[in-house]
């Protein structure tokens, strides 16, 4: 099966690269991700794949998110460290420091609280749909059945929730 996936990868290399350039906004990074995809496929272990093209796109999408997450984490850590250092004159201390970990934990705790508050204050319909889908992990179809609304109704609630949470979390 891996052999099959490799064949598809080669056949779609061009469009995957185009997608990755659009997705990352950076040709060099797109090439890197394409290479990572190759390694990922080589690892195998994916079992039978119904739609290899969609599968490859999804791998690409996930690898980009991994990089994005890593970049973001580094930024947040650096900023927190700078704030700490400017307050306590520890500019020469090692940034890989138990202090920084504690700081990161505190930030996570505050962020979780802020997120919980924002969810608790969503419009009631959006709150129910969001919590069932994102917190309790039910798929859209099941959320729709539970709430007695259509699937597109769930999607509308989810969109309202995401917009609201985006605003709530960016107020800092």
């Amino acid at each position: 099966m891996e052999g099959g996936l490799e064949t598809v990868y080669h056949a779609l290399r061009g469009e995957l690269l185009r997608f990755l350039i659009a997705r990352t906004g950076n040709a060099a990074e797109a090439e890197d991700v394409l290479h990572d995809m190759w390694l990922r496929i080589g690892e195998g272990g994916s079992g039978p794949i119904a739609n290899p093209r969609a599968y490859l796109y999804r791998i690409a999408q996930n690898l980009v998110l991994d990089r994005l997450r890593e970049t973001k984490r580094r930024e947040v850590r650096d900023r927190a460290w700078m704030e700490l250092a400017s307050g306590a004159d520890m500019r020469h201390a090692d940034p890989v420091d138990p202090h920084a970990d504690a700081l990161e934990q505190m930030t996570a705790r505050e962020e979780a609280a802020r997120l919980a508050s924002a969810i608790a204050n969503l419009p009631p319909g959006a709150r129910r749909a969001f919590q069932l889908h994102k917190v309790e992990g039910l798929p859209h179809g099941e959320v729709a059945a539970r709430l007695g609304i259509s699937k597109s109704g769930v999607e509308k609630h989810m969109a309202v929730a995401m917009k609201y949470l985006r605003r709530a979390l960016s107020e800092d």
Partner: protein, 327 residues
């Protein structure tokens, strides 16, 4: 970032796991404008953060109940699903109960077996009773323990109760004008002069106005009751059991609690008296507040509820008032 772009980004993002997702259309959309990619990044990262916090969120937020909260007949003889005038016989009986209850508590000349436990601002302490019960007293609170068997308790403020079940013994706790009994359970009480909230983490409690003969209301795990002491209205709703008593870890969790009670609760940690103005006192607050050093609490509530923070006139203690209309 325009709203339309964000809307599109959210739509693409939520559809990306569909088997028939339009990868070509998505690529074209991304290519049309670099802002599209940035909007999508933002939504993808937001979703990722939500996923990271999922276990914490599940512990803090009450589970969604699709059917209106329904109670077995024995738990709730006077029920309309969410709200009812709590006590049969209405206001008079309850008012009498209050009139009786308050002096009883205050006039008890310290019996030999009575013990008082108090905490100051920002403090907390745990009291262990002989029967194995443990009570964690929140800041600025007062617990009195009376009776030979240490089975008559009275609370002002907040506390988490861990009461083991002992057949043949009935412990009673008075707080917020109510009397709680029949206990073998874990629950949290928060009371001020006008409102009381009791939230049950394990087991069942029975609750009635102190000194009254009414049938008690039974409240089971995962439920809270918020009682207005002046109107004698009680309201039952769902809570996350894991969030009950989380003030001990510096996290204040509220679900549909009147702002007046939230204000008196945060006063205990903020170091200054906080009061909700009459125009907003009855508004319901839901949210999670991190105590930290206490200084950020008032601002956080004001921001979440769109309130103004006003200095109380003519007071030296820095007291603040929460009013409608933030900015």
């Amino acid at each position: 970032m325009t709203e339309t772009i964000i809307d599109r980004a959210i739509a693409w993002h939520s559809a990306q796991d569909d088997a028939d997702f339009d990868w070509d259309g998505f690529t074209l959309w991304l290519e049309a404008d670099p802002a599209h990619r940035l909007a999508f990044d933002e939504i993808a990262l937001l979703d990722d953060r939500i996923a990271d916090h999922r276990p914490t969120l599940a512990a803090l937020l009450p589970p969604i109940e699709v059917v209106p909260v329904a109670f077995p007949a024995m738990e709730d003889p006077v029920a309309s699903p969410r709200r009812w005038s709590l006590w049969a016989g209405g206001g008079i009986a309850a008012a009498m109960a209050l009139a009786v209850a308050v002096p009883t508590f205050l006039s008890l000349s310290p019996a030999p077996s009575a013990a008082d436990y108090r905490t100051g601002a920002g403090q907390s302490r745990t009291i262990a009773l002989k029967d194995g019960s443990r009570i964690t007293l929140a800041a600025s609170s007062h617990l009195r323990v009376e009776g030979e068997g240490q089975d008559k308790l009275a609370l002002e403020g907040g506390a988490l109760f861990d009461i083991p079940h002992r057949p043949g013994r009935t412990m009673t706790i008075r707080a917020g004008g109510q009397e709680i009994s029949d206990i073998g359970t874990r629950f949290d009480i928060l009371a001020d002069t006008r409102t009381m909230r009791v939230a049950v983490a394990e087991g069942v409690i029975a609750l009635k106005p102190a000194g009254a003969d009414n049938a008690a209301v039974r409240l089971s795990a995962g439920r809270q009751m918020v009682i207005d002491r002046t109107t004698h209205q009680g309201e039952i709703s769902a809570v996350a059991p894991a969030a009950i008593g989380s003030w001990r870890q510096g996290r204040l969790v509220y679900e549909g609690v009147p702002l007046s009670l939230v204000a008196s609760d945060i006063s205990r940690y903020a170091g200054v008296p906080v009061r909700a103005g009459a125009d907003v006192a009855g508004r319901r607050f839901s949210g999670v507040l991190i105590v930290g050093d206490g200084s950020g609490l008032v601002g956080e509530v004001a921001q979440l509820m769109d309130l103004r923070i006003v200095r109380e006139a003519g007071r030296q203690d820095g007291a603040v008032l929460l009013r409608a209309g933030g900015g």
